[in-house]
């Protein structure tokens, strides 16, 4: 049950992050839109974007699977182990989102992935 939840969390998180990054880059939220008076309008705008709605659906799956995982495992296991997605998402950011992943960034992502694996031990 524990590892099934981890797989569901990682898979849905990867899909949600790719969709969010893709869509948020297409129409960037300006810093001014984060002011309290303009927040409602900004949220309405976000709710009308199809890829974001699908991303939130995947995040909801990830959220409930995470709740289940927290009820059967330690916090210090549950949080790090779900970060297995870091390495996978960095590769997909290069291939799908066409981000410029420099050597420093690959090295950083690799260090983080190793660190997360060690934390999960």
């Amino acid at each position: 049950m524990k590892w099934l939840m981890v797989a569901i969390i990682v898979g849905s998180t990867v899909l949600a992050d790719l969709l969010q990054s893709f869509e948020m880059k297409r129409h960037v939220v300006a810093a001014e839109d984060l002011r309290p008076g303009r927040l409602a309008g900004m949220l309405r705008g976000l709710a009308q974007r199809g890829p974001l709605v699908v991303a939130v659906f995947f995040m909801a799956i990830s959220f409930f699977a995470f709740m289940k995982l927290l009820s059967v495992a330690d916090l210090s296991f549950a949080v790090p182990v779900t970060a297995a997605s870091v390495a996978l998402e960095t590769v997909l950011a290069r291939l799908v989102l066409r981000e410029n992943v420099t050597a420093w960034r690959w090295a950083g992502a690799l260090c983080v992935a190793c660190g997360v694996a060690l934390l999960a031990m």
Partner: protein, 140 residues
């Protein structure tokens, strides 16, 4: 989307938003975990049990913080690359491990401290790169 390698610097608003994303994530996970550890609820596959649990005080606080985390992270993903945001916000895993030790008495072994060091080194590496390497369209 065209690549324009590493010319844009990480500005203050991106740094502040990154800090906000990390804080809401750490505190949200902590509150959720605290609420779940102090509830004698058997979570099966019934959605009702999850919904009932969401409205308990600590889980509700955790859920609210995680909604804030979701929205702020979404905004951050518009300002910075996914391959930048992921490692930079990974410091949240370190804080979660520390909170797990301090408040829940969870065991933090030498492997976990080594893992923490790796994550910090990774963040330093990624911190040397530009936050955004793809061209953006103006906000609507």
């Amino acid at each position: 989307m065209q690549v324009s390698p590493g010319t844009r610097r990480v500005d203050l608003k991106t740094k502040l938003l990154t800090a906000f994303v990390v804080s809401t994530n750490v505190l949200g996970n902590f509150a959720m975990s605290w609420g779940l550890k102090h509830q004698a609820v058997d979570l099966g596959l019934s959605p009702l049990a999850y919904i009932r649990l969401i409205f308990t005080p600590w889980v509700l606080l955790g859920t609210s913080l995680l909604i804030l985390w979701l929205l702020s992270r979404m905004t951050l993903l518009g300002w910075a690359d996914l391959s930048y945001v992921l490692p930079m916000t990974s410091i949240a895993y370190v804080f979660s491990a520390v909170l797990g030790k301090v408040f829940f008495g969870e065991q933090v072994t030498w492997q976990r401290w080594l893992g923490t060091a790796f994550i910090v080194i990774g963040i330093v590496f990624v911190g040397r790169t530009a936050a955004n390497t793809t061209k953006q369209e103006p906000a609507r």
